[in-house]
C-alpha cells in the first residue's frame, strides 16, 4: 500500500505532537516520583529511621544478681548457687525426639518433663532455646557436655538460684524467694520490668520479701539486634545494671541453730535481744520448714503437710504469734502503780487466794492464798491477788500506757513478714471492737496479762530489754547493708524512776534465784550468768464446769490445743544485763516448767557462745542436762564458709 509523502509528513507530526504530550505526562509522573522520594527520604527520614531502629532493636533485661544475706558473724544465710540447666534448640537438634531420647539416658528426665519440653519446642520458633532439665548436678551436666557430639542442639547452661544453707533454722527470718505470681504483680506497687522475666524470683516472705528492693538491685539491659522473625543477630551494647545489696542480719546463726534445736518437738518461739543495741540475736520459731523447697516449687503433698500441721510450721510465732502474756505482764502493772505512786514497795496486800468483786470471785493461781505480799514477793511468787488490788488503784488507761512504753501493743518495724501489733486494750478499744463498756473485771484480768492483752514473743523480749536497760530499746534485725553498718540512734531513756526499775529487776532476780521464786528450779548457779526473769502461764480457756464434772481439773488433762501457754521472760547477767530472752511454748502448760528451762539454756548459750557449761547448773540437774545436750538435733558447725564470706 502506497502512501503519499504528505500523509507521512502529517503522521510524523501527529506522532511528534502526541509523543510530546505523552512525554509531558511522563515528566509529571517523574516529578511525582521525585517529590515522593524527597518526602520520604528527606522530610520524614528521621521518623522512618526511628521506625527502622524500633524494628531491629530489642531491649532485653539482664536480671540483677540478688544480694546475699549473712548472719552477724558473716555466715551465709541466703546464697546464690549456680544452677545447671540443659536447653535444646530445635533448628540445631534436627530430630528432636531422638535427641531427647538420648538425653534421657544421660540424665534423669521424667516423661512429663519431656512432654512439656516437646510442647514448648513446638510452640516456639526454631531458634529459641527451650529448657529441658533444671537443677542438674555437676556430674549430670558433665555427662551432657561430654556427649555433646551425640546431642546436637543441646547445650548446658548455668544460672543462679537461691539456696538457704541453713534450711529451716532461718526460714522464718530470711523467708524465701519464688517466681513472680499474678497475685504478686497485682499486689506490689512495683513497676520494675524485671518482674516480667519468666524465671525471675522475688522475695515471698521474711527479709527476702520486706527488703526485696534492696536485695534485688537494678536490672541491666542489653540492646540486641533482631531480624524480622525475632532471631537475635548480635548484641549491640549492654548496661550491666546494679547487683542487689548484701544484707547482714543481727541474728547469730549458731545461737539461732541452738534455739531451733532446743525447741525441737515443741510449738514454741524464742526471741533473744541484745539489751544495749536492740539487736535481735535469735528469733526461733518451732517447728520450722525448709525454705529451699519453696524456691524449687514445693509439691502439693509437702505443702499440705505443712498447712495441716497443728503446730503451724509456716507461721513465724516470734513476731506473728500473739499470746496473752500472763504473769510476764505483771512487771508492767507493778511499774505503772509505782510510777503513779499508788503503791510503795513495802506496802503489803493480803492474799487469801481470791478477791471478790461484786458477785464475781477472781482467783489467785494459788488457791490457798499467799498471805501478806509486798511488791517484791508479788513478782517473785507471782501473786495474782496483789495485782488485782493494784489494778483497781491504777486503772486500765495507766496500765496500757505503761505497756506501750515498754514496747507492747506496738508494731515494731522489723523487716519480717506479718509482724503483729498485739493488743493493749483501752476502754475506747473495747467499746469500738466489742461493743460493750469496760468493766473493772476487765482491768483485773488485764493486770495479770489475761483477758484482752496480747503480746508477741518479740514484744515480750523488747519489754524485758527495756526493763533491764531502762531505755527505749528498739529491736534491730539488719546490721549492715553492703558492709555499711545501719546507723541507729542510741535509745532514749524511758523516763522511769530508776529506783522503781531496780525494784522490779530485783524481784525478777528473786523469781529464778530464791527458793520461793516461781522459776527457782531453772536457776543458774554461776553468778556471771545469773538471770532475772518472770514466769507466765496464760489461759487459753477456762476449764468448764462440764469438764470438771468429767474429772478434768488439771491443765495437763486437757487436749493439747486447750492447754495453757507457757511463758518466760528474762534478762541476764543480772548484774550487767546483756541479753533479754522471751520464751513462749504454745500449750506447754506452766511457764515455770515448760518455758523457764528453755530460757535458761538459751541464756547460757547466748552468754557463753557455746553449749551451756554444766557448771552453770545446779549439781543435781547436771546429769539430766548433759543427756539433754547430747540429744539436741544440732547442726554441726562449719567454719569453712565463715572466713571467706562477708
Amino acid at each position: 500500500m502506497k502512501r503519499s509523502p504528505r500523509d507521512t509528513e502529517e503522521s510524523a507530526r501527529k506522532i511528534s505532537r502526541r509523543g510530546l504530550i505523552l512525554a509531558a505526562g511522563q515528566a509529571g509522573v517523574f516529578a511525582l516520583l521525585g517529590l515522593r522520594m524527597r518526602q520520604l527520604q528527606i522530610k520524614e527520614a528521621a521518623q522512618f529511621r526511628l521506625l527502622a531502629e524500633e524494628n531491629r532493636i530489642n531491649i532485653r533485661l539482664i536480671p540483677p544478681t540478688r544480694g546475699l544475706i549473712f548472719d552477724r558473724n558473716g555466715e551465709v544465710i541466703a546464697d546464690n548457687e549456680q544452677n545447671y540447666r540443659v536447653v535444646i534448640v530445635r533448628e540445631d537438634a534436627g530430630d528432636v525426639d531422638q535427641v531427647l531420647e538420648r538425653l534421657s539416658q544421660l540424665i534423669p528426665l521424667a516423661p512429663e518433663a519431656i512432654d512439656r519440653a516437646k510442647a514448648e519446642i513446638k510452640k516456639r520458633s526454631a531458634f529459641v532455646p527451650v529448657q529441658v532439665a533444671d537443677r542438674l548436678s555437676w556430674n549430670e551436666i558433665s555427662a551432657v557436655a561430654v556427649n555433646a557430639p551425640a546431642l546436637p542442639g543441646v547445650s548446658p547452661e548455668v544460672g543462679l538460684s537461691r539456696i538457704y544453707p541453713h534450711g529451716p533454722d532461718m526460714a522464718h527470718i530470711a523467708g524465701y524467694v519464688g517466681p513472680v505470681s499474678d497475685y504478686d504483680l497485682s499486689r506490689l506497687e512495683d513497676q520494675d520490668p524485671v518482674l516480667q522475666i519468666p524465671e525471675f524470683q522475688i522475695g515471698k516472705t521474711g527479709v527476702e520479701a520486706k527488703l526485696e528492693r534492696t536485695l534485688r538491685g537494678q536490672a541491666g539491659t542489653k540492646r540486641i539486634e533482631v531480624n524480622a522473625v525475632g532471631r537475635v543477630m548480635r548484641e549491640l551494647d549492654r548496661d550491666p545494671g546494679v547487683p542487689g545489696a548484701d544484707l547482714q542480719l543481727t541474728i547469730d546463726n549458731d545461737l539461732q541453730n541452738y534455739v531451733q534445736a532446743r525447741l525441737d518437738g515443741e510449738s514454741a518461739a524464742v526471741v533473744v535481744t541484745d539489751v544495749e543495741t536492740g539487736d535481735l540475736l535469735a528469733m526461733g520459731s518451732a517447728p520450722s520448714f525448709d525454705p529451699n523447697k519453696f524456691v524449687r516449687g514445693i509439691s502439693s503433698a509437702d505443702y499440705s503437710l505443712l498447712t495441716s500441721n497443728k503446730y503451724r510450721p509456716l507461721a513465724n510465732k516470734t513476731a506473728q504469734g500473739t499470746y496473752p502474756p500472763g504473769s510476764t505482764f505483771k512487771m508492767v502493772t507493778a511499774l505503772a502503780a509505782l510510777e503513779e505512786g499508788l503503791v510503795t514497795p513495802e506496802e503489803t496486800i493480803y492474799c487469801r487466794g481470791y478477791i471478790e468483786l461484786g458477785k464475781r470471785r477472781f482467783h489467785c493461781w494459788k488457791r490457798s492464798g499467799h498471805g501478806q505480799m509486798n511488791l517484791h514477793d508479788g513478782i517473785a511468787q507471782s501473786c495474782d491477788v496483789y495485782y488485782y488490788e493494784l489494778a483497781q488503784r491504777v486503772g486500765i488507761e495507766k496500765i496500757t500506757a505503761m505497756a506501750r512504753r515498754m514496747g507492747l501493743g506496738i508494731r515494731h518495724p522489723v523487716p519480717i513478714s506479718a509482724v503483729a501489733k498485739g493488743l493493749t486494750p483501752t476502754k475506747d478499744w473495747k467499746k469500738e471492737h466489742r461493743g460493750s463498756d469496760w468493766v473493772v473485771g476487765d482491768t483485773l484480768n488485764s493486770a495479770i496479762g489475761q483477758g484482752f492483752v496480747l503480746a508477741s514473743p518479740l514484744q515480750l523480749s523488747v519489754m524485758t530489754a527495756r526493763l533491764a536497760s531502762g531505755r527505749a530499746i528498739e529491736p534491730r534485725l539488719i546490721k549492715s547493708v553492703n558492709g555499711v553498718e545501719v546507723e541507729s540512734a542510741p535509745p532514749d531513756g524511758l523516763g522511769l524512776n530508776e529506783n522503781n526499775l531496780r525494784m522490779i529487776r530485783r524481784a525478777m532476780f528473786a523469781v529464778s534465784n530464791t527458793r520461793r521464786g516461781t522459776a527457782f528450779r531453772s536457776r543458774i548457779i554461776d553468778e556471771a550468768y545469773q538471770m532475772a526473769g518472770k514466769t507466765g502461764t496464760s489461759q487459753v480457756r477456762n476449764i468448764t464446769m462440764e469438764e470438771r464434772r468429767q474429772g478434768i481439773f488439771r491443765d495437763e488433762d486437757l487436749p493439747w490445743e486447750r492447754r495453757d501457754h507457757a511463758l518466760f521472760v528474762n534478762f541476764a547477767p543480772f548484774k550487767a544485763p546483756k541479753i533479754a530472752v522471751s520464751v513462749v511454748v504454745e500449750h506447754g502448760g506452766g511457764g515455770s516448767v515448760a518455758a523457764a528451762p528453755i530460757a535458761r539454756d538459751v541464756t547460757l548459750y547466748a552468754l557463753t557462745g557455746g553449749l551451756p557449761p554444766l557448771e552453770a547448773y545446779p549439781q543435781r540437774d547436771r546429769p539430766r542436762i548433759q543427756r539433754e545436750q547430747s540429744e539436741l538435733p544440732l547442726v554441726p558447725r562449719e567454719n569453712s564458709s565463715k572466713a571467706s564470706r562477708a
Partner: protein, 379 residues
Amino acid sequence: MSYLEHSHKSVPSGFSKVLYLNWALVLLLVAAAAFGFLMLYSIAGGSMTPWVEPQLKRFVFGMFLMLVVAMVPIWFWRNMAGLAFGISILLLLAVDFFGTVNMGAQRWIDLGFMRLQPSELTKITLVMILAAYYDWLDIRKTSRPLWVLIPVLLILLPVFLVLKQPDLGTAILLLGGGGIMMFLAGVSWIYFAAVFTLAGGLVTAVFVSRGTPWQLIKDYQFKRIDTFLDPGSDPLGAGYNITQAKIALGSGGWSGRGFMQGTQTRLNFLPEKQTDFIFTTLAEEFGFVGAFSLLMIYGAIVVFCVASAMKTKDRFASLLILGVGATFFLYFSVNMLMVMGLAPVVGVPLPLVSYGGSAMLVLLVAFGLVQSAHIHRPR
C-alpha cells in the same frame, strides 16, 4: 512500505552498523543493570549467589540478543510483528496448560534452560503489532470505529489471558502500553474520554461485585487495594509489605545507611526484596542520592527513546520506539509508585534491576528493536 520512499544508501550496512548504535542508551542500560547487580549482591549478604551470578549471565545474554536484534533491519521486525504477537498469544495459552504454578499464579513455561514468562514477552509483541498496524493503516481511518475496535481487541486478548493467570500487574502494563500506542497513533480523544468514563464505571462495578458470586477480581487483589488505601489498618498482615517498604525507604535518608548496611533488608523486614521491592533496598542503602540517581537513569533512557523517535520519519519506527519507551516507563513508574505507597501492590518488577530473567531479556530485546530503528532510520 514507507522505507521504499527513502534512499537505502544512507542506511549503514555490515559491521559498521555497530558504530551507529545509540551507545549512550547502551551505557544507560548497563548503568541501570549495575544498580541491580549491586543491590542483589547486598541482599545476598555480600555474595554472588544466588542472585547476582544468574542475573549477570542473563544480562550478558540479553545484551547479546539486543545487538543481534539491532543488527537486523527494522523493516524485518515490522514484518515479523504479526508472527511474534501470534506466538506470544499461543504461549500465553500454553501457560494455562503447561504453566508452572508459582506463588499461586500460573506464569511460567519451563523451557529447560530458563523459565519463560510469556506475559513479559507479550508486552513487547503487543507494542510491535500495534506499531505495525498503525503503520499499515491509512492514517485517515485511524479514528474510525471499526479500525479502533481492531487494536482494542488486540490489546484485550492478552490482557484477558494474563488476568486469567492471574497477573494484575502485567495486565495493567499491557493495558497502559496498548492505550499509549493508540494514543500515539492519533486515535481521537473522544475514545479515550469514553474509555476513562467506562473505566470509572468498571472500577465501581468491581467494588460492587465484592463478595458476590460474580466477583470480578480475586480476594487477595481486593485485600491489596484495601491495604493500599489504608496500610495502617493491618500493619502485621497485608499492610506489612507497604509499611516495611516505606520504613526502609525513609530510613535511608539523604545518603543512605551504606552499602550492605540496610537493616530493613539485612534483617528480612522487607518482603520480596530481590524482586518487586528491590528499590526499597537501594533507597535504604544509598538513600535519596542513590534512589534519585536510578530515577534519573530511567528518565534518561525514556528521553533517549523520545529523542530517537523524534528523529526518525518512519511511522513504524517512531511508534515502536515511543511504545517501548512508554512500556519501560510504565514498568518503573508503577513499581516505584507501588513501593513508595502511592499505588496498590501489584506484581511489577523494577526493570533491569529486579531479579528475574524474562523481564530483563524481553526488555533488552525491546531495546534491540529501538537500536535497530535507530541504526536503520532513514537519513
